[in-house]
């Protein structure tokens, strides 16, 4: 179940962007992927999304090779939020979100699809922007509309299909309140709706606060993976990010607080 990466190697121009990575993203868990710039996080996500074909290794979605899935059935189980979505055509925010329903409605969205798109906009706190034009929105607003789009794509319908949501830096453009909103939504999507959610993040404290599992990458390799307690330690993080990192307990509830010294 979920998404499984088996011994993935991705080579481009004689460089190993991803080097022998095996991972399993289980349903019901929010997995956070972290690492320095160029560590191979986005490449790994693109392999997981089927966007890049790995040089070696295989990607399994629900126990079936990813590339053998029919594209329509796959889109109902796997949604991907790219790092940024550039579009110069004047779609409204609502139309962008409704695009996520394409595979559920064969081109003609019905009332249910519209309700789902509206609900996804409300969930990401962008309902007031529904009739604004997407290219005229601010970066953070666009990011939230895009998140609403991938939520709409996997929105729960009657059938209980397993679902996987891949988010590449979903909070990079967001203000602090919406960073927390986005990760609450992502975690809820995993815990309450049983989806496997994977998010690339840069903020150690957001990871510590929301992740069920953490994957740390360095130079294309897996540096560590496991629970927050196992992975977000001073020694592992300092090695992974090549900078001294301190961990203290939060004065209120004792959860880890991490910062560079």
């Amino acid at each position: 179940m979920g998404l499984v990466l088996n011994n993935i190697v991705l080579t481009r121009a004689q460089r190993h962007l991803v080097d022998r990575v095996s991972l399993s993203f289980a349903p019901g868990l929010l997995t956070v992927v972290m690492g320095e710039n160029g560590a191979g996080k986005s490449s790994l996500l693109k392999v997981a999304a089927g966007e890049l074909v790995p040089t070696h290794g295989e990607v399994m979605l629900c126990e079936k090779l990813l590339h053998t899935w029919p594209s329509m059935a796959r889109a109902k189980r796997l949604a991907v939020l790219p790092q940024e979505s550039t579009i110069s055509f004047m779609f409204s925010a609502f139309e962008v979100v409704l695009m996520g329903r394409s595979m559920h409605c064969q081109g003609y969205p019905d009332a249910l699809d519209r309700d789902i798109a509206q609900a996804a906009l409300v969930r990401m706190d962008v309902a007031h922007l529904a009739n604004r034009l997407y290219p005229t929105l601010s970066g953070g607003e666009r990011a939230r509309v895009s998140l609403a789009r991938v939520l709409a794509q996997l929105w729960r319908t009657s059938e209980q299909t397993p679902r996987v949501l891949l988010l590449d830096e979903p909070v990079a453009a967001l203000d602090i309140a919406h960073q927390h909103l986005a990760l609450q939504v992502a975690r809820q999507f995993a815990h309450e709706e049983g989806a496997a959610v994977v998010a690339v993040l840069h903020d150690l404290n957001l990871a510590a606060q929301y992740a069920d599992n953490v994957v740390l990458m360095k130079a294309g390799r897996l540096e560590a993976s496991g629970s927050v307690a196992e992975t977000l330690t001073e020694s592992i993080l300092s090695r992974c990010f090549s900078t001294a990192i301190r961990r203290i307990a939060h004065p209120d509830d004792g959860r880890p607080l991490l910062f560079a010294t």
Partner: protein, 370 residues
């Protein structure tokens, strides 16, 4: 009862869409269809031999075998109307609509509102193939022309358009996005190459072929016949229908290929659909009316301003607008220096090129960015 009437009136008055800056779809299509009807009437009325609106209506009904008030229209006037004016206006509409739909589809494929079969060289590629057939058709390519008959020039235009579209698409495409710079620069190169090839053909052409080629490079609807319409309408209608069926995919392509794939569209098939059908539309258009630029750029752009970029509505809207605009340009071409006729490509370039420059001006930041 009163409430129903007042609601009907209020929906009629709601000409603005809920989306900022757009027109209500019904209102927009009402305007577009009215525009087409008006230019049709103008196009049939105007010319060296002016006809009144009543005569046009009577004559058009007679074409479809409904005879009323026959005394209004002399046989000579009917002949002008049925064998010159009507086919010419219809051809103008079909060509304009086909070019506009080809432009709409290419703009989705290239993710770029500046993609135009004329600018990126698709029409030029088609024109070279057509010129080659005109010049070599009686000699080297004799077998081909006898095999294909009246379809020879359209098929040649299609083949030329298909080859150039594919080349430019492969050049302009890199991993995630297609580069606007590469696309336009490749268009310049292809246009130059096509110009040179056509120049070579003019050298070896005889007088009649030369006149034909000149006619093709500037574009004209002057040779319109019912036969010509009959040859191109069905394949063009099929292409438009195939592009229309793919409109959800064309919407998704505007978000990028990777995202269209994540949304569940079969992207490779989609791209093939666009390339083949856009090349057919542009190639067939070039083969009967020559190179008519900018319609494919202007019509979808205005249509997008009116109703937004959703291809499901954009295809019919830009077809109506492109067809109507080309009929209008043809009226100008016929009347501006009457009795002489200005090539219609000259008219569309005079209107379209400043439009394109204005578009570049408003988008110059994103142009530089790519």
């Amino acid at each position: 009862m009163n409430a129903v009437v007042s609601r009907k009136i209020s929906t009629l008055l709601q000409w603005k869409s809920v989306v900022e800056g757009r027109l209500n779809l019904k209102f927009a299509f009402f305007i577009l269809i009215s525009f087409v009807v008006v230019v049709f009437l103008l196009g049939i009325c105007n010319g060296a031999y002016p006809l009144s609106v009543e005569q046009v209506i009577v004559g058009c009904l007679r074409i479809i075998n409904i005879r009323i008030a026959s005394d209004l229209l002399s046989e000579g006037q009917y002949a002008v109307l049925s064998s010159i004016r009507v086919p010419r206006v219809l051809l103008g509409f079909v060509i304009g609509a086909a070019l506009a739909v080809a432009g709409t589809a290419l703009q989705s494929l290239f993710r770029n509102p500046l993609a135009d079969p004329g600018l990126i060289g698709v029409s030029a590629g088609a024109a070279v193939a057509v010129a080659a057939v005109i010049v070599l058709g009686a000699t080297t390519l004799k077998g081909l022309t006898t095999l294909l008959g009246v379809m020879t020039l359209p098929v040649a235009g299609f083949a030329g358009g298909l080859i150039t579209t594919t080349i430019i698409y492969l050049l302009a495409q890199n991993q995630a996005r297609t580069s606007m710079m590469t696309m336009l620069l490749a268009g310049i190169a292809v246009n130059a190459l096509a110009g040179a090839s056509i120049g070579l053909f003019t050298l070896i052409a005889n007088d009649e072929q030369l006149r034909n080629i000149t006619f093709w490079t500037f574009g004209s609807l002057g040779n319109a016949t019912w036969l010509m319409l009959a040859v191109i309408v069905l394949p063009m209608a099929i292409s438009v229908a195939m592009l229309y069926r793919a409109s959800m995919g064309l919407n998704a392509l505007m978000f990028g290929e990777a995202e269209a794939a994540h949304l569940g569209f079969a992207v490779q098939r989609l791209k093939l659909t666009v390339i083949v059908n856009a090349a057919l539309l542009a190639g067939f258009a070039v083969s009967v009316s020559g190179m008519i630029g900018f319609v494919a750029l202007v019509a979808p752009h205005i249509a997008r301003l009116l109703i937004g970029p959703d291809v499901r509505f954009l295809i019919p809207a830009s077809a109506l607008l492109g067809g109507g605009l080309l009929v209008m340009a043809d009226i100008i071409a016929r009347t501006l220096l009457a009795p002489a006729e200005v090539p219609i490509g000259v008219i569309t370039a005079f209107i379209g090129a400043p439009f394109f420059l204005a578009l570049l001006y408003t988008q110059r930041r994103s142009v530089m960015g790519l």
